[in-house]
């Protein structure tokens, strides 16, 4: 849904004012945020309101995520980033740059070596065949050898290539970290000047400094691309760093636009990605125009393909493989569970890992994890929480002291992952529960949508505390995950009402609080969550029911997203066209392949912060009083942190509040 348009209509001060004054007091939140709400309400300066569109405009260059582009306008962007690489590498140590080339060459050499091996084997067998031709069937079986080995070779080659690429990407990152910001910028300027000069000379290939350099840079961009979310992360680290200072000049800002994630409507890139892919996926034919940039595959074909290749994916650790399968078949869903499952699989993989000779643990393991991650992405796009967890893990690996033995390093990582799961997820949930329970009072009617693990814990804990409340579980097709939640809640003896999202406007009358889970909270306060959440939040908002979002801090992300189009996930379209167990109403059966029928099964949507009264995280509760947005340029600026770690920090928050929260979180 278009979240950009919606706030505007609501942001009319008059409407808002009326709404909030007529709101019954028992529905607004108790405690400090309340006061803040009212204090702002009494003084809505209309002058500032006028400034809001312009502010929105000035923000947009940063906020609007990479545009959907055809390959034509994509190429300059790519060229930019391609050139970004050599400057950062060359100044610190030109030697390392040439090293890179050498490494690449060596990598290729390794491929050649590995491919020569099976050839040798083939000779052996040929010799053997001639030797043992009298033995029955030996002559025949060699036929299949010829069939078999090319597969092995190509796989081996692919594996090496992937590792090589990952190696390079890590090196690229580390180099980037080493150089200071100023240095980098100077280099960029120099590079740009050089490029301009080259262009002036009329070279058809503007970036062709030398053949080798060009090929390396191309490689580097390529290698950086594959894990899209990670790429974004690394790029946005730099971006957030910048945000503190004054607004950077236009062209610099352009640099900091995060590398676009894979745009699936760009044919050439999709082709490239496909060649790398472990899981062969056939793309769905009829995709909705607006969502062509997102990956969508024929669900039916993936699983058998992957299954049959179980033993052929040599480098894949069984635990990772299992998790991938479970993602693909939908056996595990939900942000926390997916993240935990992935981390535990990595734990297993690290336990069984041993550094190959002539490699360092830090780099090889990072590459390994990278390949696992790209496998998991092929099974299902990563959630933001998983991206954060992976970033954490890679960070940990990079920071391992070199003096550690392999064994120690592995146990270190093992306990690091354990710590992450315990602190960032389990303990975070406990803290959230502690906070959220204070918002539940006797006689409340709580509404929840879907099945959020955090919300479930809140409800159960409140029930254990003996609070008297009723729960309305709102659910939606096709997943109907609310039923599972309902089953568990009823099992615990909680009074529940179950309804579908169609009836949300009817049931909302009796609700006093809405508790929602989130897949992620973005730095403009947008809540990225299960599709339908936005709808629930909006209805609640129009009924003046406070909406509380429970989200662990590890799910926060610096990205800014205004709509749910540019970044989303497409589910299996068949699930919405067919109703399982109801053969009699499958009217779409024959027509699902028709060219004029397009099915859209979105997984997530973005809820604008206007509709969220409060975000409950493990660092405290962030109140978003919606009306404040009207009078200030950025919505974030008006957020208030109620308490951090129990401390009552009830003051006007600094402009980048959530961003700060995120950086606090990552520095720990």
């Amino acid at each position: 849904m278009d979240s950009r348009r919606a706030p505007r209509t609501v942001s009319d001060p008059k409407v808002r004012k009326v709404g909030f004054f007529t709101a019954p007091p028992d529905r607004s939140l108790p405690g400090p945020p309340d006061h803040r709400i009212f204090s702002f309400l009494t003084s809505p300066p209309p002058v500032v309101d006028n400034s809001s569109p312009s502010a929105g405009n000035s923000l947009s260059p940063v906020m609007i995520p990479p545009p959907r582009h055809s390959s034509a306008n994509l190429s300059p962007l790519r060229r930019d980033s391609a050139e970004y690489f050599p400057p950062s590498a060359s100044p610190t140590s030109p030697a390392s740059f040439s090293d890179d080339v050498a490494a690449a060459a060596m990598g290729r050499g390794a491929v050649a070596a590995s491919s020569s091996l099976p050839g040798g084997l083939g000779f052996d067998i040929a010799a053997l065949k001639s030797a043992a031709s009298s033995v029955p069937a030996s002559g025949l079986t060699t036929v299949s050898v010829v069939n078999n080995f090319p597969i092995g070779i190509s796989e081996k080659g692919g594996g090496v290539a992937v590792e090589m690429q990952n190696d390079q990407s890590t090196r690229y990152k580390s180099l980037k970290e080493k150089t200071t910001k100023a240095e980098r910028r100077a280099l960029q300027e120099a590079q740009r000047a050089a490029k301009a000069a080259a262009k002036a000379e009329g070279g058809t290939t503007p970036a062709a400094a030398s053949g080798a350099a060009a090929s390396v840079t191309m490689k580097s961009t390529k290698s950086v691309k594959p894990p899209p979310s990670l790429k974004n992360d690394s790029a946005t680290v730099a971006a957030s760093e910048k945000k503190g200072g004054d607004r950077p000049p236009e062209k610099d800002r352009k640099k900091e636009v995060p590398q676009p994630r894979m745009q699936y409507d760009d044919k050439s890139r999709v082709e490239k990605a496909k060649r790398r892919a472990v899981v062969k996926q056939t793309e769905a034919r009829n995709r909705v125009e607006l969502f062509r940039h997102l990956p969508q595959y024929e669900r039916g074909t993936q699983l058998p393909e992957l299954e049959s290749k179980l033993f052929e994916l040599d480098p894949m650790h069984p635990a990772v493989y299992k998790v991938g399968l479970q993602y693909l078949s939908g056996d595990i869903c939900g942000g926390n569970a997916r993240c935990i499952a992935m981390l535990q699989a990595f734990q297993e993989a690290i336990k069984d890992y041993s550094t190959p000779p002539e490699k360092t643990l830090a780099r090889d393991l990072t590459a390994k994890i990278g390949s696992y991650v790209s496998f998991l992405i092929e099974c299902r796009p990563l959630s933001i929480s998983m991206g954060n967890a992976i970033r954490f893990l890679k960070n940990r690996i990079a920071k391992l002291p070199l003096s550690l033995s392999e064994m120690e390093a592995k146990t270190n990582l093992h306990s690091d992952i354990d710590r992450f799961i315990n602190e960032k997820i389990i303990l975070a949930d406990k803290v959230i529960v502690k906070h959220a329970v204070t918002k539940i009072s006797d006689g409340d009617v709580l509404l929840t949508y879907g099945s959020s693990s955090a919300v479930e814990m809140v409800l159960l804990h409140a029930h254990e505390l003996g609070k008297q409340f009723r729960v309305v579980v709102v659910d939606s097709r096709p997943k109907l995950e609310g039923q599972l939640l309902l089953r568990r809640l009823v099992g615990k003896g909680i009074n529940c009402t179950y309804t579908h999202i169609n009836a949300i406007s009817y049931i909302m009358h009796e609700v006093t609080r809405v508790f929602l889970g989130a897949s992620s909270v973005l730095s403009n306060g947008t809540v990225y969550s299960r599709v339908g959440t936005a709808c629930v939040a909006m209805v609640a908002h129009s009924f003046h029911v406070p909406v509380l979002v429970c989200c662990e801090a590890y799910k926060f992300h610096e990205r800014v997203q205004l709509d749910s189009i540019c970044s989303n996930e497409l589910g299996d379209p068949d699930v919405i066209s067919k109703v399982r167990g109801r053969e009699d109403i499958n009217f779409l059966d024959g027509s699902s392949n028709s060219a004029i029928l397009q099915l859209l099964n979105l997984i997530y949507d973005a809820t604008p912060s206007d509709y969220v009264s409060m975000i409950i995280t493990d660092y405290g509760m962030v109140g978003c009083s919606t009306h404040e947005c009207t009078c200030h340029s950025t919505r974030i600026s008006k957020r208030t942190l109620v308490d951090i770690d129990g401390m009552q920090m009830d003051h006007q928050a600094s402009p980048r509040f959530l961003t700060m929260l995120i950086s606090v979180f990552w520095e720990q």
Binding site: F311, D331, I340
Partner: protein, 458 residues
């Protein structure tokens, strides 16, 4: 991939007499001129499973099989051959090699399986559900043994045989009931508890157990140790595991809990929270629902999962466990499912080795195979048959729907239909064979006529 593969190659199977002999154990019976075992081994090799244990019954057979493997697969596969005494059964064979098994999961494949189903699919299902046992089910042989011999008129009256009776849950992932062997003919007895837990069970008689299993090693070994009466995987162990899936007696997850014993309560709580989040997020199978359904009592019901992988209809899957199956498989491998054989067929859909000699006006029809050094006289006709190496076939011989192994001599004017003739056999002039099996080295006198007989040297 953390799977150990055990290939049960069997010994000299009684059911296949007179085709098998001391020199040719069941595993080495030629299917389209390749030992049947090679089909399994190559399928495994394709899946990158190169570390195998081949279990053979009987010393002699083991020597033969071992010799053949070492010749054919040196440098390609890492094969260990284990010898077990004859008649220990499949369970006994596993029991004998149990101490060699180390990985967490084990893939057990029958050596007589001719199939193009990737074993990875089975393993993936096994892994995905964390099952105790996963079995491969395939649809019963399509053309069926009955109509395979086109001229076998009396066979046609027989009803198609039922091999297994299998109960599945509505999602077709879990195995709820298995009846094999003699039980198939009896009444079906289904446990109430299972039926109550699942609500709905699908009973299928058109599926066959393909004898490819994935087991959880710890469970398998425990069952093997405790139930020393169990002889067969298919008839004892699998039904036992399926029967007891809701009141599991086997130890599950015993090990990890012991490890955590001395850790703090706090971390255990966290672990519980982790597992709860994971459990809540996944779609519960009926096992989970059943286990959690008895509130009140402190006793936790222990369950384990028995999964089934149902191969798609387009895949070929058949076991060479009877003479009938032997002819069927030979027919299919050179016929409709020729991709299994690994040979490239000529434009006429047959294979004639360049060194084979054909007399004038001799026709070799489609779906035939004529191997190296064989000679045929004039006016012969071969249809849908396999002829091995160095056979000498006289003039005016008709071969239809038959398998002729190596070094067979066939006199002029013979007619062979639907028969299997083993190596070194000799057919003198004008003998007529119909649906017969001729053992190795047997001599059939001139002008004799046989129908539906099985002949072997005493």
């Amino acid at each position: 991939m953390d799977f150990q593969v055990v290939v049960l190659a069997g010994g000299t199977c009684k059911k296949l007499l007179p085709l098998v002999s001391k020199d040719v154990p069941k595993a080495l019976l030629p299917v389209a001129n390749r030992p049947v075992l090679s089909y399994v081994l190559e399928q495994l090799e394709l899946s990158n499973l190169k570390d195998l244990i081949v279990v053979v019954e009987g010393e002699d057979a083991a020597l033969c099989v071992g010799g053949w493997i070492s010749n054919a697969y040196v440098d390609r596969l890492h094969v260990k051959v284990a010898v077990v005494p004859e008649d220990v059964g499949t369970a006994g064979a596993l029991r004998a090699i149990a101490h060699h098994l180390t990985t967490s999961d084990i893939l057990v494949v029958s050596g007589d399986l001719v199939s193009d189903i990737p074993p990875g699919a089975l393993a993936a299902v096994h892994r995905q559900h964390d099952a105790v046992v996963t079995t491969m089910l395939c649809s019963a042989p399509v053309s069926g043994p009955t109509e395979s011999v086109s001229s076998g008129g009396k066979d046609k009256i027989k009803k198609p045989r039922r091999y297994n009776i299998i109960g599945l849950d509505p999602t077709k992932q879990f195995l709820l009931h298995v009846a094999t062997g003699a039980e198939v003919e009896k009444d079906i007895r289904i446990q109430k508890s299972i039926l109550r837990a699942v609500d709905q069970m699908e009973i299928r008689a058109d599926l066959v157990d393909a004898h490819m299993y994935a087991f959880k090693r710890s469970i398998l070994q425990e069952v093997l140790d405790e139930k020393d009466k169990f002889r067969s995987l298919k008839e004892d162990i699998l039904p036992y595991l399926v029967r007891s899936q809701l009141k599991s007696e086997v130890l599950l997850n015993g090990v990890p809990q012991a490890e955590n014993g001395n850790e703090k309560v706090n971390s255990q709580n966290n672990q519980a929270a982790v597992s709860r989040i994971l459990a809540n997020a996944s779609t519960p199978s009926f096992h989970d629902l059943y286990a959690s359904s008895n509130k009140g009592s402190t006793l936790v019901r222990r369950t384990h999962k028995c999964c089934a992988y149902i191969a798609s209809e387009s895949k070929y899957c058949q076991r060479l466990n009877s003479i009938q199956a032997f002819s069927d498989i030979n027919r299919d491998v050179i016929g409709d499912d020729s991709h299994l054989s690994g040979y490239s067929f000529s434009a006429h859909n047959n294979i004639i080795h360049p060194s084979a000699q054909l007399g004038s006006r001799t026709t070799v029809g489609p779906h035939c195979m004529l191997w190296e050094g064989s000679q045929m006289g004039d006016k012969c006709s071969v249809k849908r048959s396999v002829i091995g190496r160095h056979c000498r076939i006289g003039s005016s011989v008709k071969v239809v729907n038959s398998v002729i192994m190596d070094h067979v001599t066939i006199g002029d004017g013979c007619s062979i239909q639907g028969s299997v003739i083993c190596s070194n056999a000799q057919l003198q002039e004008r003998s007529v064979l119909k649906d017969c099996q001729v053992g190795a080295g047997f001599v059939i006198t001139a002008c004799s006529e046989h129908k539906g007989e099985s002949m072997a040297r005493k």
